[in-house]
Each structure stands twice: as C-alpha cells, then as structure tokens.
Symmetry: C2
Subunit: 366 residues, 2 copies
C-alpha cells in the first residue's frame, strides 16, 4: 500500500491509497460487510453506490463460515466476488461489544460465539494469521478497546495491553501480506491518547487507526481527541477513525485530518427506513409518504431514486419485502459516498469550511 497526499485544506487531506487491487481516493467511507457481504447488497450495488473499499469483520468471519472455507477460495475477495480493496478489523472492537461473552488475559481473548456458544480464541498472532488468510489489503492489530466511560485504571490497562499486542502483531505480520495499521487507544483522556500513540510510533505501521471512539462519548470529547492527535500522527500515513459515524461526524473528523471511515449506520438505518437525503433526514415509515410520488432524493443517482417513488418504497417496507432492505440500504450508502465525493471536491478547491457550514445548517434544520 502506498499513500499519497494530493491536497490539503486546513487540516483536511485529499489523498490516494494505492493497492495492488486498485486505488482509493480519500477521505473514503467503507461500508461494513460483517459476514463477507454488506447486508442485502451485491458487489454491483456496492460499486454503483460509489464504494471503493469495504470492511470485513475478522471475528465474525472466523466463526461463520470459518477461515478454512474462505481459504479454499484463496481469500475473502474471491469468496464474495469483490475485486476492490478490503480492510479487516481484528476482533478488538468485539472485546468491548461482546464483553459479556469473552474472557481476556495478557495473552489474548476467548470469545463464546453468540450463535452456538462455541469457544473461540484470538491472540494478536492468530488475528494476523486469520487476516492474512482472508487476504486483507489492510490488517488491523488486535487491541483492547475499553468501554465508555472507563476509569483511569481501565484506560491504563487497555493501553498497556494494546501496546504489547501491537508489538506482537508487528512481529507476526508477514512480508507479503497487506498493510498493517496500529490502533491508538486511550478513551477520551488526551494524555492517554498521546501516550498510546507514542508507544506505537516506533513500530512499522503503514497507517494509524483511532479506536475506542463512537462508543457513546459526546461529540465534543471525540473531537478533542482528534484535535490532539492530528498534530502528532505522521502526515505521510493514512488515518482511520474506526466505527464513525453520522454524516456530520465524518465531516468534522475530516476537518481534523481523518482519511478513512467505516460505519454500519447507512445500511442499518436504511433497513429501518431511516434515510439520509440532501435535504435532511427522511423517515420513510411516516404515513405522509404513503402516496408521495417524489423520489427519496431528487439529487441522488441511486437505483431507488432514479426509478421509484417514496410511496412505492414506503409500501415495500410496509409489506416487509426484502427488496426494501436492499433499495433503502443502497440509497443511504449512495448518500454517504456522494457526500464523501463532495468533500473531496471541496478539499481540492479549498472550500471545505464553506461546505461544512452549509452542511451544519442543513443538519440543524432537520
């Protein structure tokens, strides 16, 4: 992987990530393909939405269908038919999100599989080995993501363990495999964040992720962390804010130097008929849309907006047709990718502040 910064606008960066499997213009948003699919969407839909790169969940894929199945296909790309780059997480987020289903020690973490109760062990080395077997273009180190709020002791312990695991991940990472990113932890405590980064800095990471955010903290605390990190993170390497977020959160983070995002929001909200549009949020289950002949968003090029009305999509959702899940997820994802495209254009033209202001005004009006 190579990263090139093409333009700057304030702290925002327009960049390009080059992979053997193609280039990604940054800032970029990766839809979440937990089980080797972005729910309800096929690969042609993902391309049509403007998605350049997707995310897969290592722990979930290791449980179903299992690494041995995906290995037969030579990796996740061939298994799911996606030819663009893939980033895989490490299972570190599930250390927090599946807290009641795991035990952790300094060597690694043991999960109880949510579906069948099977025990599954992840160590830093095993997380790397699985991601290499998946053929990931970007691998993440196994980390220990603390909850929010966390005590000073919990944050301290999480950093110590994450640093140790990052070093072991580096050691386990093979030459020929994808790029490896480190993950900065430290909760919303700025000195802890800086200490976590300092510990990772000497290691040979191709990029840095900011983990442990989007876990319930107020936006201003999240932005304070980004403000503190933007000056210390190496400018020649990509920065990935994990699990964020709403459209406004993306814009605010981009203005603080973030290049990569992933989030389930556009697809999960789409499945619940909660739609993002250039005129604000549209809750399609509202009875007012029952006979509305307009498209969801006249400015959106997605399949649903080009061909179908709010009334028809409201109806599909109401009768429980799985086609609604697809079309509404596709719409929201297209909205996200259009927004990122507009942001990249604004950075190129040095007018991101102005775009952000218009965007804030829209957010407040809805």
């Amino acid at each position: 992987m190579e990263f090139e910064c093409l333009a700057r606008d304030g702290d925002a960066r327009l960049g390009r990530l080059r992979f053997a499997r193609g280039s990604v213009e940054t800032p970029a948003f990766m839809p979440v393909g937990t089980y080797g699919s972005v729910k309800g969407l096929d690969c042609a839909d993902l391309l049509a939405s403007g998605s350049q790169m997707i995310l897969g969940n290592t722990l979930h894929l290791a449980l179903r269908p299992g690494v041995e199945v995906i290995s037969r296909f030579g990796g996740l790309h061939a298994f799911m038919g996606w030819s663009g780059p893939i980033l895989t997480d490490s299972g570190g987020f599930q250390v927090m999100s599946l807290a009641s289903l795991r035990t952790i020690d300094d060597d690694g973490v043991t999960f109880r599989a949510p579906v069948d109760g099977r025990l599954f062990r992840l160590t830093p080395e095993r997380a790397i080995a699985i991601q290499e077997a998946l053929g990931s273009d970007v691998l993440m180190v196994l980390d220990h993501c603390p909850p929010y709020p966390a005590t000073a002791g919990e944050i301290e312990a999480s950093i110590a363990r994450s640093t140790l695991w990052a070093a072991r991940s580096c050691g386990a990472h093979g030459e020929g495999s994808g790029a490896l990113f480190g993950i900065v932890q430290g909760g919303v405590d700025i000195p802890s964040r800086l200490r976590s980064f300092e510990a990772l800095k000497p290691m040979a990471f191709a990029g840095f992720a900011i983990g442990g955010l989007a876990v319930g903290e107020p936006a201003r605390e999240r932005l304070a962390v980004l403000d503190a990190l933007k000056t210390v993170l190496p400018p020649d390497r990509p920065r990935y804010l994990m699990g964020v977020g709403k459209p406004a959160d993306l814009v605010a983070a981009i203005m603080r130097g973030v290049d990569l995002f992933d989030c389930v929001l556009p697809t999960r909200n789409g499945r619940n008929a909660h739609l993002f549009t250039t005129r604000g949020i549209l809750r399609l289950r509202n009875a007012r849309y029952r006979s509305d002949e307009n498209p969801i968003d006249a400015d959106c090029p997605c399949l649903a907006c080009r061909r179908l009305s709010r009334a028809y999509l409201h109806h599909l959702d109401r009768v429980g047709d799985p086609l609604a899940l697809r079309l509404l997820s596709l719409h929201n994802l297209t909205y996200y990718q259009m927004l990122l495209g507009r942001v990249r254009q604004a950075i190129r033209e040095g007018r991101l502040v102005s775009l952000a202001k218009d965007f804030e005004a829209l957010e407040e009006s809805t």
Copy 2:
C-alpha cells in the same frame, strides 16, 4: 390483446400475445408479484431472469397500498416501475385460500383483511373496476374457487355462481381496458368442467383460464381435466392454467395445450434455499455445500451462477442475509424462464416429446 399461434407440436402451441406494452412469447411463465413486487427482486432482476409478463394480486393490492394510491400513479406499471404486461387475478382464489376470513353470497364476497381485520367487499363489478384502475393488461373475472376435495353440490354451486359472476364481469368490463379472461371451474369432475366451459363460451372473453387446480389434487386428475378441456377450448384464444406449478407440471400442461402459467414456487422455494437446476433439485442448506466452489448450476446465466459459489450462497443463507433471498429467487426464476425458452424452442422444432422424456428422466433421478 392479440393472440397468434405460430406453431404446434402435438397439442402444444407456440404463440405470441401482443399487448400495447409489448409481446409475450408463449408458453410463458409469470412470476407472482403479490403486492406490486416479486419478493426481493427489482424490475431489472425480472427482466434479467427472462420474465416477460408478471402477475399482481388484486385483493392484496386493494388492501395494501390501496387502489387510490396506485391510481395516483396511473396504475400498477408506473407504481412499481414495470413496463411489460401485467395480468391481475380477481380475488377469486382468495375466496378459497382465505375461506376462514370471508363470507360469500350470490352478490359477492366480504373479506376480513389478514393484517388489520378491516372488512373488504368484492363483487364482480368491483373486481373489474379495481383491475381497470390498476391498469392491468389482462383482467380475470371474479370466480368462486371450490376447495379440494369438494362435494358434487359444492362444485355445482361454485359453477353456478362463477357463471353468474362471469356474465356480470363481462357487463362491467370497459371498452378501453385490458383483455378479460373467463375462468373454467368444476373441480376434478370432467362433466362439470365441460359444463362450466359451455356456460362461459358465449361470453366475449379474450382468453380462458383453468381455475381451481393446484389446490391439492393428484397430478393425474389435473391432467385428465386438461385432456378434456384441450379439445373444447377455442384454439384461437390463449389458455391460462392458474397457480401451476412445478417444472414437470408445466411441461405436462404445455403438452395439453396450455399457454400461460403463474406460480409462487420458484420465488418461495428460492427463499427457502430449495433450488431448481438443470441437474435436478439442490437443497442448498445441506452441509455438503459449505465449501463447494461450484456455481449452483454451471448452465445457468443468472447473477448468482455467473459470479458466486454454492459455498458463498450457503453462507449468505445461513447468516440470514437478505441478499440470499434475492439471489436464490433470481436463480429459480431464471431456471423457470430458461425451461420455458427450451420448451418454446422444442415446439418450434417439433421435438417437445423428446425434451419431455429427458426432463422426466431428470426428475426421476433426483
């Protein structure tokens, strides 16, 4: 609507139905779009499957979203974005299938809506008015479909009422609207079937449907009815066997002069990972497919077979991804349309008997 018979092979007919909205080569299979969508498939999928014409359910659409909503769009075609011909049923089948939710008298039938308990009244005139508002290319008369098995008295009463309603439907049918088909009833009693047809014969129907089959009767009784009717039904008008059926049932009916079919089987079975292939039935939930790198059917041109493996589709079904519903429905529907295409070609070339034999051998081997 115009019907032209292009070739015959035994009693089988190769034909063409001409509508203002395009032509349909017969024998043809119509996927079932109960609520203005074939579950999980968009219109591009329907076209890709080879579907030329689809079916909509009058009663279901009248309940959700309601005729007034669809009327705003000028009809069902614009509402759902389907530009090919549409046939609508009349609600007569639901007289039987929703028997516990309706009361019937000589004037019409009152349904209790399954979803919200609302009462909904259908008369022959109202069934026609709704179908005209939907903009159907082929309208069906309201009929009284008896259950199977039925007593001689039940069959007699059903024919009497269906004949009366057919005449009222003819009277209600407007000049400028779509083609109107009569429906022959009579259970599996041949004399009753012939009597039902004789009563409908003088009325101005553009085609004839054979109703009240595919309701649990043995195949040989169904085929006996078709054998009896094939010599009396007018050769210059299309014949539609309602609600049938399995691939072998279609072939057997085509050999007895049937031109049109509809059935939920390919899509419903698809959603349950029960797949039709040129090598027989494939139950994709079987663990043997967990790491099978082959496509469902190497001879199938559908999106799933061109791009994806059995293992991946097995996995999508297992994790409950709605994408599985779409891809597996699309596969089965493509299988049906390919089969109909092969049948049409065989009729053209006078070798339907030979194709049917190969097909029976395949059925028996799986």
